[in-house]
C-alpha cells in the first residue's frame, strides 16, 4: 500500500481547480447550487409537514438534513470523465507516470469533490452552526471520512470499465442505489426497518451521508466504534479497488496508437 503524498494531491487539486476556473461562469454557478437546493427543499418539506410530523423529523430538521446531504453532493462528472479515459485509452498516459491507478483515481476524486464542496461546506457550516451548534462541526468532521469512502466507492465503479467498457448505464443504476442506501435521497430511518437494517448494518454507503448527517443534526455521537467502522470500510474498499485495478489492467486491451 503506497503512501499518499500531500504534494501530489495539492497539485492534482490545483490542476482540477485551474481547469474548472477556466470556465468561470459555469464554475461560479455550480459552487452556489446548494443555496438553490435549500430553497427548493424548504418549500417541498413545508408542504409535506403541513400534514403532520414525519417520525422524529420536523421541517427544520429535514431541511437541514437535506442541506447537508444534497448540499455536499458528489460531483458525478468526474466519474464519466475518468471512465471515458479507460474506454478511449487515454488512461495509458496515467500508467506511464510514477503513480498507481488507484492513487490517481482517489486523487482526482478528492480534488474534484474538494473543489465542488469548498463553498457548500462553508454554507453548511454557517447554517449548521447557527441552527445546530457544535454538532455541525462534528458532522462535517465525520463527513470527510465518508468522503474518502465515497471516493473509493466511485473509483471501484469507474474501474468496472475494464470489464464492461462503456458502463454508463450500470454506473448510473449503481449511483442511484448508492444514493438511496447512503441516505442522500431520504433519511434511512424513514424507510421500512428491513431496508434500514441492511443499509446501516451491512452496507458501507450510509457512512457517506446518513451517518454524518445524523451527527450533524446532533442525533448521533462520534464514537471510537464509529471511527473504527469507517477505517475498516476504507481499508476494505481500498483493497477491493487495488485488486480490481490489478485484474483490470491485466485484461486491458487498447489497440492502436
Amino acid at each position: 500500500m503506497s503512501i499518499f503524498k500531500f504534494r501530489v494531491f495539492k497539485e492534482y487539486f490545483l490542476q482540477t481547480f485551474r481547469a474548472w476556473a477556466e470556465y468561470p461562469l459555469n464554475f461560479g454557478i455550480s459552487l452556489f447550487w446548494p443555496l438553490f437546493s435549500l430553497i427548493v427543499s424548504y418549500f417541498f418539506w413545508s408542504i409535506v409537514f403541513n400534514t403532520g410530523q414525519v417520525l422524529n423529523y420536523n421541517v427544520e430538521k429535514m431541511v437541514l438534513y437535506y442541506l447537508f446531504s444534497l448540499g455536499l453532493f458528489y460531483d458525478f462528472n468526474f466519474v464519466s470523465y475518468l471512465r471515458r479515459k479507460i474506454i478511449d485509452g487515454s488512461i495509458t498516459n496515467i500508467l506511464v507516470r510514477k503513480t498507481s491507478l488507484a492513487e490517481y483515481l482517489i486523487y482526482c476524486c478528492l480534488s474534484s469533490f474538494a473543489i465542488w464542496m469548498l463553498v457548500p461546506i462553508f454554507i453548511v457550516l454557517i447554517v449548521g452552526l447557527y441552527y445546530l451548534g457544535i454538532s455541525a462541526i462534528f458532522g462535517l468532521f465525520i463527513f470527510f471520512f465518508g468522503l474518502i469512502l465515497g471516493c473509493l466507492v466511485y473509483s471501484i465503479l469507474i474501474s468496472t470499465s475494464f470489464w464492461i467498457g462503456d458502463n454508463f448505464s450500470i454506473i448510473h443504476i449503481l449511483d442511484e442505489f448508492v444514493g438511496l442506501t447512503s441516505g442522500s435521497f431520504l433519511p434511512l430511518d424513514l424507510f421500512p426497518s428491513i431496508f434500514y437494517t441492511i443499509s446501516v448494518n451491512y452496507l458501507p454507503f450510509n457512512l457517506m451521508f446518513f451517518t454524518p448527517a445524523k451527527v450533524f443534526l446532533g442525533d448521533m455521537a462520534i464514537t471510537w466504534i464509529l471511527i473504527a467502522k469507517y477505517i475498516l470500510w476504507i481499508v476494505a474498499l481500498y483493497l477491493v479497488l487495488r485488486f480490481m485495478i490489478k485484474r483490470g489492467l491485466r485484461r486491458y486491451e487498447q489497440l492502436g496508437g
Binding site: S2, Q15, T92, N93, R97, K98, Q254
Partner: protein
C-alpha cells in the same frame, strides 16, 4: 545481459477483436455476447537495446508499433515471451520501472488541456519527487532550448500541435529518465517543429546517454535521429540493423515524377517505369544515377513539375521479404 537496457525475447501479443456474425438470431445474440477472435498484433519479436542507443521502430499503420511500445512501458503484459527493461519486468514492476523512463505518445497528451503547461509540469515534479524550484529550473531551461519558454503560461488548448509536442517532450524529460519512448512524436508536425524536436532529442542523447526508442512510420524521422532501425510488418520483425544498410540495400533509389508540357528530345533510359501518360512520367532511379538522370530530364523535357521522393516503407518491406538479403539479428 546486464549490458542491455531493453531485452525482448520472443514477445507476442494477441488481442481479442469482435468477429463477424451472420444471421438474424446470431446478430441479436452478438449484441450481448460478443463473438470474438484472436488478432495477433505481435509475433515472436526479439531484440535488445544498449544504453545510449537511438533505435527507430518502424512499420506501417497496424504493424504493431504502438502495441510494442505499450508493452515496453508496462501498460500491458505480453501474451507470451519476456520483456526486461532496466532489469525489471515493465508490467509487473511498473511503479518501480516508470520512474526511470519518459514516454511521449504523439496522439495522446500528457498535459491537461485547459491549463497552462507549467501547471502540468508542476504536477509531474510532485509525482517524481523533484523539488519545486529545481523542477522550474529544469523545465524553463528545456523550454528555452525548444523556444517555447514564452508559452509556459498559455493554456495547452491555445498551443499549436508543434508547441504542444515540445511541452510533451519536456514533461517526459523532467525526471531525467534513462530511456525515452516516443510513439509517433512527429505526427502532424510541420518541418520546422519536427527538425527542432529531432535536434533537441539528439542533444539529450549525446549529453545524458539517454536511450531513445522511437516508433514512426516516417523513414525521415529515423534517418535523422536513429543509428539503428527495427522494421516490423504485420507484427513480425523483418529487419534489425543499421539504417545505412537499409538505405543501401533497399532504399537505394528515388521515385522521380515529371509533369511536362513538351518533350525537347526523347528521354532514353533503362529504369523501371511506374506510370506513363501523355504529359506525365514516373520512374525509379538508382541513387548513384540520380545526378546524371536529373540533368538528362532537364534537357529532354519542358518541365511543369518535378518531384524526387524516397521509396515508401511498404516498398522497402516488400523488397526485404522478396530478397531476404539482410540477415535479421
Amino acid at each position: 545481459m546486464a549490458n542491455y537496457q531493453i531485452l525482448v525475447e520472443n514477445m507476442s501479443k494477441t488481442f481479442w477483436v469482435p468477429d463477424k456474425v451472420e444471421g438474424f438470431l446470431p446478430k441479436i445474440k452478438n449484441i450481448f455476447w460478443k463473438k470474438k477472435k484472436d488478432k495477433k498484433a505481435i509475433q515472436n519479436v526479439s531484440f535488445s537495446i544498449k544504453r545510449g542507443e537511438l533505435v527507430g521502430y518502424i512499420g506501417e499503420n497496424g504493424s504493431g508499433k504502438s502495441t510494442t511500445i505499450k508493452m515496453l512501458v508496462g501498460i500491458y503484459p505480453p501474451t507470451s515471451g519476456k520483456i526486461t527493461c532496466l532489469g525489471k519486468d515493465p508490467f509487473e514492476e511498473r511503479l518501480k520501472y516508470v520512474k526511470d523512463i519518459g514516454v511521449v505518445f504523439g496522439n495522446r497528451s500528457l498535459l491537461t488541456f485547459d491549463i497552462a503547461p507549467k501547471y502540468s509540469l508542476d504536477l509531474y515534479a510532485a509525482i517524481y519527487d523533484i523539488p519545486a524550484k529545481k523542477a522550474i529550473d529544469i523545465y524553463t531551461k528545456f523550454a528555452k532550448k525548444l523556444k517555447v519558454d514564452h508559452l509556459l503560461d498559455v493554456p495547452v488548448r491555445k498551443l499549436s500541435l508543434g508547441e504542444r509536442m515540445k511541452f510533451e517532450i519536456i514533461a517526459s524529460l523532467l525526471h531525467n529518465p534513462k530511456i525515452i519512448f516516443l510513439d509517433e512524436p512527429t505526427i502532424g508536425l510541420d518541418l520546422l517543429a519536427r527538425e527542432e524536436m529531432i535536434q533537441f532529442l539528439k542533444k539529450v542523447n549525446e549529453q545524458n546517454k539517454t536511450t531513445i526508442f522511437l516508433t514512426t512510420h516516417n523513414m525521415d524521422d529515423i534517418e535523422e535521429l536513429c543509428n539503428r532501425v527495427i522494421i516490423v510488418d504485420d507484427g513480425k520483425k523483418v529487419y534489425d540493423g543499421p539504417i545505412k544498410k537499409v538505405k543501401q540495400a533497399y532504399a537505394n533509389w528515388k521515385r522521380i515524377t515529371i509533369v511536362f508540357r513538351n518533350k525537347f528530345k526523347p528521354f532514353v533510359h533503362r529504369f523501371p517505369v511506374f506510370e506513363k501518360r501523355k504529359d506525365y512520367l514516373q520512374f525509379k532511379c538508382p541513387n548513384d544515377k540520380l545526378k546524371q538522370t536529373i540533368s538528362q530530364v532537364v534537357d529532354c523535357f519542358d518541365i511543369i513539375d518535378l518531384k524526387i521522393e524516397e521509396p515508401q516503407l511498404k516498398e522497402i518491406v516488400k523488397k526485404i521479404y522478396k530478397e531476404k538479403m539482410v540477415k535479421v539479428k
